[in-house]
Symmetry: C2
Subunit: 418 residues, 2 copies
């Protein structure tokens, strides 16, 4: 069978898996697949079963990541195709899951076309990519490649309240092994990491292309729990006496937004997101000035130098706002991920494969950070394909069309065959 | 006994009652006396007992307000001395309670000085002055004088979840009577309403005076549940595609603050308070742009015309922000209270009484709205005394010194005696 026909023939398998993880995560109007919980576990089970049906060997590492290996009988470093199966709370069906399913689809297409793997191919379902569960993201790939940040195993799950160590152990992982804090796999033993992911912005919709070859993932600096402390007070307090924490939060957020717009006006792409932004709910009152305020911050950019400059500016802006508003601003906990430029050879290879398959696949910076970043940071050659998606990601209305995912699977399979 | 000595002699009674309501409301580091709940009910019980010990006749009306009547045997309209015993969540001990206790203290002082009442004097503990419990304040005095706004009896208590009707009935009130929506007392039958209240700002601290004679209470317009609806999205979404609800909230709040500062620069005193200001906690994520945001708004000013102008400007500002931010802003539920100018004769009488007692009592606009506003609106002649207070109100650190409250009781007793 021609490879393009073999890819098309996998549409029903791919659709069945997309529908399967959707049913598992159903939380109308969105999708919630909780990391290290029922949602992610059942999705992992579904994918493992699909892999076994293709003759792949399933195994789990100490981080409870699933690997489905298609053995080549050759000793070359394997090619990994991965993504994640967890979602945010009330997210969509495709962020993460589409990439794992694309790996299954590509293997199935190669098998249907009678193409033997030139080296081992592994489909990976990496755990807990979303940072909503522990205030720290990319946990599965961190375990695999680099170890976890200090204290991470004691972080608590937003829903279950279990520590990360307890969560991992409850899924058959081995937190004691993770405490050794060394990679579960030697990055030098890995040939390449490929990831398919929906685009998290409508730029491919604008461009009219089903797929993009990714140029780079952004890196980020995150502060999950920024705290502003002013002074509780009565509604009648004259302005000159106030230390109003919510207004300081408003001031801080708009100052960061101005920084963003100024940077982009000079061609330095980035993003600022303030996801949590709130007065403390336990003390909500219409008739009191709140002395407390909390927010989360995600700063992202495409080069390490740019991130360093932005983080410096963040500190300055926070100090300016604190002084102007007579409040204390504590940025608190910080996590960071390095920007992830794609491997130039893989980038060329994917573009050439798209041309051979007759699929439009322009180059594009990824709006989102992915597990791929950790592979880049570990020195593994990485390539990514982004899939057209109408309504962005991290919301219930993600809308990827299956034919667009099949286009990405076609590019991936053609690349693997070559 | 000289009246000033008789007042001083009540210090231990006053201190015992202040300590009593503090113990009842203890919720470290603050005070919570929940309206129509254990906190307010026990405080009402303590005050009723203190009133009975002075020979006052206790009774409760259909709104469960407590009246303690000192009968004069004369047929003149009574003088009411009132305030409230509920607090906000984690508020302080003195906002409200000091005024009720001042009424008890003044009656006790007059009795100790052997002064018979010239007309009936009633000490009132009015229910649920704080709007935190039902999103609507001044409930006891509304019941007494004007009836409740439509639907108010179906509002639900923030803590117990009971409706206002159920809450009132559970405290011995009569919600069926309140559904008639006519005043429980004919305002024309009331001679005067006097209220002692801590100042909710540190202006008396600045002025170095223990007490002020109040010129006017502010009126307000309140929107307890303003909702902003944008679009949930991924952190990577470029700025031009975003409909970011929290940033629209930030924008709205700072625009209202600018309005405030511009008005005051032109001598038009007012205040803006945004007490609740938050992303929806059920969907909190560091890695998603929030499409939802909620805030409460309290706008206050000292003349009806000024409030009308401010409310018009609020509508314009909300529309400007909604257009600029590509979000929807719904101001939603609205409540309002008219500004409350004091009765000129009572104002003069209180000032003269302060001079006779040798107590410094400058005139001052009240930062806060009080039950007194409802009496003003009903045509009852009203006077208020404000008591020096270090740390504002509606916070755990309210700090009124008992000698300053005794000064207010002295002015009040001297005024009643004259």
């Amino acid at each position: 069978m021609k490879l393009s026909d073999a890819v098309s023939a996998q549409t029903s398998l791919v659709q069945r898996l997309l529908d399967g993880v959707s049913t598992i995560g159903a939380d109308p109007p969105g999708i919630t697949r909780d990391a290290y919980g029922r949602g992610e576990n059942e999705a992992v089970g579904l994918i493992a079963e699909a892999g076994r049906a293709l003759g792949l060997a399933a195994s789990f590492d100490a981080g409870a990541n699933l690997s489905l290996r298609w053995a080549s009988g050759r000793d070359a470093p394997p090619v990994l195709i991965g993504s994640h199966l967890d979602s945010i709370v009330q997210g969509g069906n495709f962020d993460g899951a589409a990439g794992v399913i694309a790996g299954i689809g590509a293997v199935a297409a190669l098998q249907a076309a009678g193409i033997a793997p030139r080296r081992d191919i592994e489909v990976l379902a990496l755990r807990c990519e979303e940072s909503v569960w522990f205030g720290l993201g990319l946990i599965g790939s961190r375990c695999l490649l680099a170890g976890l940040p200090e204290g991470a195993l004691e972080l608590r799950h937003a829903r279950s309240g279990l520590t990360l160590a307890q969560s991992i152990d409850s899924c058959g992982g081995d937190s004691a092994r993770l405490r050794e804090n060394t990679p579960l796999r030697d990055p030098r033993s890995l040939g390449a990491y490929l990831e398919v992911h929906i685009e998290q912005a409508p730029q491919l919709i604008e461009a009219g292309a089903p797929v993009a070859v990714c140029l780079a993932n952004p890196g980020n600096v995150r502060h999950p729990f920024i705290r502003i402390t002013g002074e509780d007070a009565h509604t009648g307090l004259p302005h000159r006496f106030r230390h109003d924490a919510p207004l300081a939060g408003a001031d801080l957020s708009l100052a960061l937004e101005r920084m963003w717009l100024e940077e982009e006006a000079q061609g330095r792409f980035m993003a600022v997101t303030i996801g949590r932004f709130h007065t403390p709910s336990a003390r909500h009152s219409m008739t009191a000035v709140s002395g407390g305020f909390e927010l989360s911050l995600d700063l992202r950019a495409y080069s390490a130098d740019h991130l360093v400059a932005l983080e410096k500016r963040l500190g300055e802006i926070a100090a300016e706002v604190a002084a102007r508003r007579k409040v204390e601003i504590v940025l608190g906990e910080r996590s960071a991920a390095a920007p992830g430029p794609m491997d130039p050879d893989i980038l060329k290879g994917l573009s050439a494969a798209a041309v051979r398959m007759g699929i439009a696949a322009p180059p594009l910076n990824s709006p989102g950070t992915h597990d791929a970043n950790n592979f880049v940071a570990s020195g593994v050659p990485v390539g990514m394909l982004l899939v057209r998606n109408q309504n962005g990601s991290h919301n219930p209305y993600e809308a990827m069309d299956t034919p667009d995912l099949m286009a990405a699977i076609g590019v991936l399979a053609e690349y693997l065959a070559a």
